[in-house]
């Protein structure tokens, strides 16, 4: 298969809008890379530059070590699955899948074999004679994937392929695409705005915002060690809680002062926070790292009042308010809350992340 390498790739549109700024991404052979970010973050533009559908304004793109900036899409040996499937409406499913092979003048028997094989993988044999109009959304999605598979391309590109499906189907197709990746052992680049898709599918995730790559890493690295507040807030559902606090020192301990409460910081962040004494930091804590503990010792918990209770069965999401910040906590389903309850949460400081209030970068632990 193939490696894909972007070196300082930028895209500036005619109007002067810079969609992608100096993106550096290295994608290993057989890797499943997800580009994720809010809409307008440049992820699709990046993908389209890899595909050759957009010109690269500056920087270099290498596929398999070969610079392909000026190579037209048809010569790049890349297959792409589009958000709206982009099936050819006047062709049967079979012809849709065979089109790319026919153009490459492959013998008929080989085309038949490839389509059969792909149809087998995707279980769409009985659809081969139908037209796209006669298919459901999920079936169209399969055909679109099938059209990519038959080509045996170097790289697969997916542009938000699941966003037009209903929630249930999306979960199912997500798993199927993942298993497809395992089965085909192909290099895949997948664009989505859904961080759950990114987390569940990617070997490596590229988080983008405003055309700039924020962080590249495997799902758990992004989750546990976000480099900045954006990544921390974007990855994870429900999202990470942020409290803006000021750092103080008293009694030989580092404290954070939220305004409604004070909390002593012990453990791994005690040292790194020292330069921030007298300054503001953002205290980030994930909902599952807020431990409900009514017996917590003074100066180790966050006091708040319950506002909204969302029992989900396996867990309960509790929205609480400190008076200045609203927080979400994940609690065990057997603890019963009612609105207005005064609660105490002890944050797991080994999992918490602090961010510089000005730069929004995570404070280094070193």
């Amino acid at each position: 298969m193939a490696t894909v390498e972007l070196k300082a790739v930028s895209k500036v549109y005619d109007g002067g809008v810079q969609a992608v700024k100096a993106a550096d991404i290295t994608i290993q052979d057989k890797e499943f890379v997800v580009l994720v970010g809010p809409s307008g973050c440049g992820k699709t533009t990046t993908l389209r530059m890899v595909a050759g559908l957009e010109d690269i304004s500056s920087g270099d793109l290498f596929i398999d070590g070969k610079r392909v900036n000026d190579m037209p899409p048809k010569d790049r040996d890349i297959a792409m699955v589009f958000q709206n499937y982009a099936l050819y409406p006047h062709m049967t499913v079979y012809d849709n899948m065979a089109f790319g092979l026919k153009i490459r003048k492959m013998p008929k028997e080989d085309i038949q074999k490839r389509v059969d094989e792909a149809a087998g993988i995707l279980e769409i044999h009985e659809l081969l004679e139908r037209r796209p109009k006669q298919l459901s959304g999920g079936q169209r999605q399969r055909v679109a994937v099938g059209r990519a598979i038959v080509r045996h391309p170097k790289v697969f590109l997916f542009d938000e392929p699941l966003s037009n499906l209903d929630a249930k189907l999306r979960v199912q197709m997500r798993a199927e695409i993942s298993s497809l990746h395992t089965r085909l052992q192909a290099t895949m680049i997948y664009v989505t705005h859904d961080q759950v898709e990114a987390m569940t599918m990617g070997d490596k995730i590229v988080v983008m915002k405003g055309g700039i790559i924020q962080q590249i890493g495997d799902p758990l690295t992004l989750y546990n060690k976000p480099v900045n507040r954006f990544v921390a807030g974007f990855i994870g559902s429900p999202p990470m809680n942020f409290l803006s606090t000021s750092v103080t020192e008293s009694g030989g301990k580092i404290w954070i002062d939220e305004g409604t409460f004070k909390m002593a910081i012990e453990g791994r962040y005690a040292e790194p926070l020292k330069p921030y004494i007298g300054k503001n930091v953002s205290f980030g804590i994930r909902p599952e790292d807020l431990v409900y503990n009514m017996d917590a010792a003074e100066g180790s918990f966050i006091p708040a009042a319950a506002e909204v209770i969302e029992p989900l069965g396996a867990e309960t999401h509790l929205y609480v308010n400190t008076g200045k910040h609203q927080l979400i906590a994940r609690t065990a389903p057997n603890i019963h809350f009612s609105v207005g309850d005064k609660v105490k949460f002890v944050p797991n400081l080994d999992k918490a992340v602090f961010f510089d209030a000005e730069t929004e970068q995570a404070i280094n632990l070193s």
Binding site: A51, L53, A79, M80, N84, A86, L87, Y88, G100, I103
Partner: protein
């Protein structure tokens, strides 16, 4: 509600009557002789259809066929319809008729059944055969067909190619301007610019040529094609074409294999509108074509009318000949025409 319904039905019926009546009149009148038509323009056909038992006179008019094959024929000339002659092989006549002198009158019922039948059929279609042979309609029919088929094909080819360029290729600043420029051509009609057109073509040496006439038709057909075509193609998602690019198709291939088949509704609409227009077009060919070899059917119809005489019967027969193909097209593609025009209008 019922009154509205009544009014709309009334309007529809009135409209239908207004459109159909001339067609009906033309059809039955084409079976009337010139004399009948001049006497009463609305009467039913009679002499060619019912009162066919009039006498024939042996005439000295030589058979053109005899001049070729040398076989002996007798010429029978109708006593009622001037110039309506039958040239009958002598062998086919009973012996008593074989040596009739010139000027002798023969009743139709005296002739053997087979011969009589043949003459009756010929009488019935007298206008049609006369129009076809005297007006030399055969070659004109072929010319009309040529203009329609070649021009329409070229119009579709070029207008769809232009539409593809304007709607799907990346030159946003110019595409709109150029497309509108072409669309402005829709406001021009052939009669409006026939004189400059003639001067232009004659300076190119293209008057009275198939090429010259076809080029003008193509030029006048393009605006509508581009207008409807690019409107429709804008509705085709870019991703389908990008997908074809990813599949390995270049611009040309994605145009032919993907965009063209998807544009079929518009292609049919544009084809029918242009084909019918060109089939019926009269002025351009009248002005440009001076020799028989380039004239089209409508001009052929016109040729029966001159300042000294008008052969109304022949002219009507020629008209029917000219109208039948359009009727066939209409009835065959009835649904597509109405659908196509609406589709073009709404999506375009």
């Amino acid at each position: 509600m019922t009154i509205q319904r009544f009014i709309s039905y009334f309007v529809f019926i009135l409209w239908t009557v207004l459109t159909v009546t001339p067609l009906v009149w033309m059809s039955y009148s084409s079976f009337k002789t010139n004399a009948e038509l001049t006497q009463d323009i609305f009467s039913m056909p009679s002499e060619l259809v019912f009162k066919t038992d009039h006498d024939y006179m042996v005439s000295s008019f030589p058979s053109p066929q005899t001049l070729i094959d040398g076989k002996q024929r007798i010429t029978l000339e109708s006593s009622k319809i001037r110039g309506f002659r039958h040239f009958i092989l002598v062998d086919r006549l009973p012996t008593e008729f074989q040596s009739l002198p010139v000027g002798q009158t023969v009743g139709l019922d005296q002739l053997p059944f087979g011969l009589r039948n043949e003459i009756l059929w010929k009488t019935l279609f007298y206008n049609y055969t006369s129009a076809w042979t005297r007006g030399n309609l055969g070659p004109k029919f072929l010319n009309s067909l040529f203009y329609v088929v070649v021009s329409t094909t070229l119009i579709i080819m070029f207008s769809m190619m232009a539409s593809f360029g304007f709607s799907k290729m990346q030159f946003p600043r110019w595409s709109k301007f150029l497309a509108n420029l072409i669309a402005v051509g829709y406001l021009l009609s052939i009669p409006a610019i026939i004189i400059p057109l003639f001067i232009m073509l004659s300076s190119l040496g293209l008057t009275d040529t198939h090429l010259g006439i076809t080029l003008v038709y193509v030029a006048f057909g393009l605006p509508l094609g581009v207008l409807l075509g690019q409107g429709y193609m804008r509705g085709i998602p870019d991703s389908i074409i990008e997908s074809a690019h990813m599949d390995g198709a270049g611009h040309w291939r994605s145009f032919l294999s993907i965009v063209m088949p998807m544009t079929v509704p518009v292609i049919i609409t544009v084809s029918i509108i242009n084909a019918l227009g060109i089939w019926n077009e009269f002025l351009l060919v009248l002005v440009m074509a001076s020799s028989e070899s380039t004239k089209s059917l409508p001009v052929g119809v016109f040729s029966f009318a001159s300042q000294t005489s008008i052969e109304l019967g022949w002219q009507l027969a020629a008209l029917v000949i000219a109208v039948v193909p359009t009727m066939v097209v209409y009835f065959r593609f009835n649904k597509r025409i109405t659908q196509g025009v609406v589709a073009g209008a709404v999506k375009g």
